[in-house]
Structure formats: structure tokens, C-alpha cells
Amino acid sequence: MSAKKLQYERPVIQKLNVGLMNKFGTRTEYTPLTHIDGNSVKDLLGKFGSPLFVISERTLRRTFREANRSFKTRYPKVQFAWSYKTNYMNAVCNAFHQEGSWAEVVSGFEYQKALNNGVPGNKIIFNGPDKTEAELKVAIANNSMIHIDHLDELYLIKEIAVESNKKPRVAIRVNMDTGVYPMWDRFGFNYENGQAWDAINKIMLNDKMELVGLHSHIGTFMLTPSAYGMAASKLSHLALEIKKKYKKNIQYIDMGGGFASKNTLKGSYLQGIDASPTFDQFAESICTAILNAGFTETDLPLLILETGRALIDESGYLLGTVVSNKRLSDGRRATILDFGVNILFTSFWYDHKISPAQEFSQYTEDAVLYGPLCMNIDVIRENITLPPLKRDDHVVVHSVGAYNMTQWMQFIALRPAIVMIDMEGNSHIIRKRETLDSIEKDEIVPKYLKDFKL
């Protein structure tokens, strides 16, 4: 009888460097993540194929409730609106709608998605610079909140209002200096130079539209809560001045989104988990600014939040498999994975946390992680310390719930399936793995190009 063989680990040797440790000590990114909400990573990949996106409904709902609590304990009237562009898988949208979120959309396509999901028209916020006449007509007929981005849109809405004899509910998007760089001034009307007031006057002096709200969205992946306080103060000031000038109460102030998630931006000295503010910090800054602005209790506007990234990022995981290992000319280890920047778009911005999905000894190696694309830009991590992975080992990328499932590209490879793990730990496929047919079904080859001889 032969003795049981021992677990194999690739032999590694690493030079020990003295004096190069950072002040936070060694990173522990290589702690294995073998299960997600009770589901083994290996089983998930076996059942649904590799690579695979996984969304934890438990984390999604827990994060939403945490954010909701942070704002509702500080301000009496709070409403979240789910940012469709962040992740518009219908299952994800509906989980947020079940939690009470309205819908925030930035295109006709997203608008239709929200309607199809069953969101009432008057609970859809229609943002973005490009709303076609047909889309605006639908939004007006549905009594949606239309956030005006530029004067051409304002005039177009006015024309539709006259034709349709309906009074559109509109808000204006206001951009402003909140002390952060870069200042987002390409969307909406500027506060400091009077454009915002100009747009407000144009709406208020014409009874074809109803100005129901004021909206701002000061940036993305914001790490400074005080900037939101500044924006909330400026919007509150506008609302109070509108009340003074036109005797009109603004129904809501929409602070947009942009809260940072716990991901680590490339080049950041601190890890995202240490650098990103909490929901409490954002809430404190925004709610205090509105409460201190001078509204009477009855005039306090509804506070709308379009937070996307910070609500969904941590719920998402990308599971994948090692394709191969190789050694680069400078001695660095390169590991090729079966997912690349085509489906992990956010790896252009973040140093994603990546864990092995199986137990290892404590030995590690510095490595570069490449995707499978035959493209030089396909780099998932330029530098990472991981245990010695071998072919067919599994890895888990953390915090990929925001933007990847909407910005992914069908480029070179087909896009993978997405699975949601429900509150009880059951897995549900919410988007099937693409097939060649899903890509080619809309292609048409002219008859004269159908045949060829080689």
C-alpha cells in the first residue's frame, strides 16, 4: 500500500531585503478566500464556469441598510435612487428597489430598463446630457423627474410641454467649486458664474415647467466628505433664495453620487479601506450643511442620494483561474489569469485586492498578474504578493460590483456568467455566459460575402 502523497506547492525562493518594509507592515492579501456566503469558490466555478462574477445579496442589502441608517438618523427625509449605470443587472436593481430605492438613469435605454423592472415613472430620475426628444416625451408623460443638463434641453422640454399640455417636473443640475480638484463643470449649470440662476429664472418665469429639485454631482470616488458639505450648502442657499424670490419651495435636493468605495486607487499610499470615508462621515457633512442652512422645519427638502459605487462595489467578486506562470526577463513572476481588462475594466483605476481561493503555506512571491488577452495593456495587477499559484488554481478579485458589469467589453473573449447568492446562501444565475450566437445574432453578412474559396 503506498503512503498518501503530500500536497504539492511550487518551489519558490525569494531574496530577503532589509529596510524596505513599509510602516504598515506586510500586506496580508494572500489570506485565502475559499467561500462566498457559504458557497465554495471551487464549486461555483465548477458549476457556472470560469471566470465568473458573483454578487452577494447579503453584502448588498447590508451595505444599503448601513448607508440608509447613516443618513436617516441625521436627516428626517431621505430617499436613495439606484444609479443604474453602476450596475444595471435587473436582479441587482430590483434588490435595491426592494430596499426602497428609486431609479436614477442616464439614458433612454436605462430609463426603459427601470420601467420594465416596474419602477413607477414618477420615481425615476432622468439625468445625463443626452436625452432625445422621444425619450423626454416618454419621461414627461410618465411624470418622471428630469434633471436638465444644458439650455438646449431646457428649451426642448419647454417645447414638448407646450405641445403636450403637460407640466414637466424638472430639476437643474448645478456644478460648483467645492474645493476639490478636478472640478466637474461639464455637467449642468455653474453656480459661481450665475448660469444656475439664469436657468432657474428661465424655468420659474415660465409656467410650462415645475422646478421640483436641485441636483449636483461633484465628482467620482470622492475621498473628502467636506466637499459634499460645501455642495449641500450651495444648493441649500439656492433653494432658500428661490423661496425668497419666487415663494416656491424646492421639493428636493439631490446630492448625486461619487462616494468612494473601499477599493484602493492606483498610486494611493493608503489602502482604500483606510482612505475611504464612511457613510457616517458623508452623511454628517451633507445633513449638517442642509440642517444649518436656514430652512424651517416644514420647508426642509427631501434629500436624494444617487450613491452607486459605494453601495454595490463590495458585494461583487470576480472568480477566475490561473492559466499559466512564466518568468519575465527581469526575474519577476508573471501569472496569467483567465480574465482580463475586458471584463475587469476597473483594474485600470484600482489595485484590486486579489486572494487565492485555496489554502497555501505562508511563502509568497512578488508577481505581475496578466489577463488572457493578446494585448499588452491586459494587466490586472502590476505588482502583487501572492502565494505560489499554479495552473488551475483559483483566485478571487474583491470589490468588483461597481461598473464592471456595465462597462465590460465583449472584446476577444465572451463575457462570463453572473451569479447572485441570496440571503439564504443559494446561488442564482442572473446573466448567462455569452455564446457566439449572442454576439453574432445582430450581424448581417451581405449575400455576396457569404462564400469564398481559399
Binding site: K5, L6, Q7, Y8, E9, R10, P11, V12, I13, Q14, K15, L16, N325, R327, G331, S361, Y363, P388, K390, R391
Partner: protein, 86 residues
């Protein structure tokens, strides 16, 4: 391929090269291979031992072995240094 004779090895995988002052860390299987190389075992002996003892196959180990040996050469732990590669 011959490893430098005076390399000091500890049971925990610490490797010290007294001729340069460099120190290294290796995992248990790496340590086993270094010990066998020091004893003058050749690639075949090592492959036979590892595939018998561990859950791996010839092809997988051979690839890892040559990568490991290249790293030993790169770290200047081989008699004759880089020249030995050829």
C-alpha cells in the same frame, strides 16, 4: 549544476550565502530541492523523489524545477554564477 558549497540552510527555509551576505527564504519543497542539489543529486533524482512524495506529475514539476533552478542562478547561489546556466 552545483550549488555553492558554503550555503547555510535552516530547517525553517532560511538560506544564507556567506560569500555575499545575502539571505533568502524558500518554502519547504524549495528547501528539499536545495538540500538534494547540495548532496549532488541530479534533476532526474530530484524529479523522481518529488513526484513520488508529492501530488504532482512529471510535466508540471519539470516546469517548476527549471524555473526554480533559474532563480537560484539569478540569485547567484550556483557555483560559477550565471555562466553555469550554459
Amino acid at each position: 549544476m552545483k550549488l555553492k558549497k558554503n550555503l547555510a540552510l535552516s530547517d525553517s527555509g532560511f538560506v544564507f550565502d556567506p560569500s555575499t551576505g545575502d539571505s533568502f527564504s524558500t518554502n519547504p519543497i524549495g528547501l528539499e530541492i536545495i538540500r538534494m542539489l547540495k548532496e549532488g543529486k541530479n534533476a532526474n533524482d530530484i524529479k523522481n523523489h518529488v513526484t513520488k512524495t508529492y501530488m504532482t506529475d512529471d510535466a508540471s514539476f519539470e516546469k517548476d524545477y527549471y524555473d526554480f533552478v533559474n532563480m537560484l542562478t539569478k540569485h547567484n547561489l550556483v557555483e560559477g554564477g550565471e555562466k553555469e546556466k550554459n
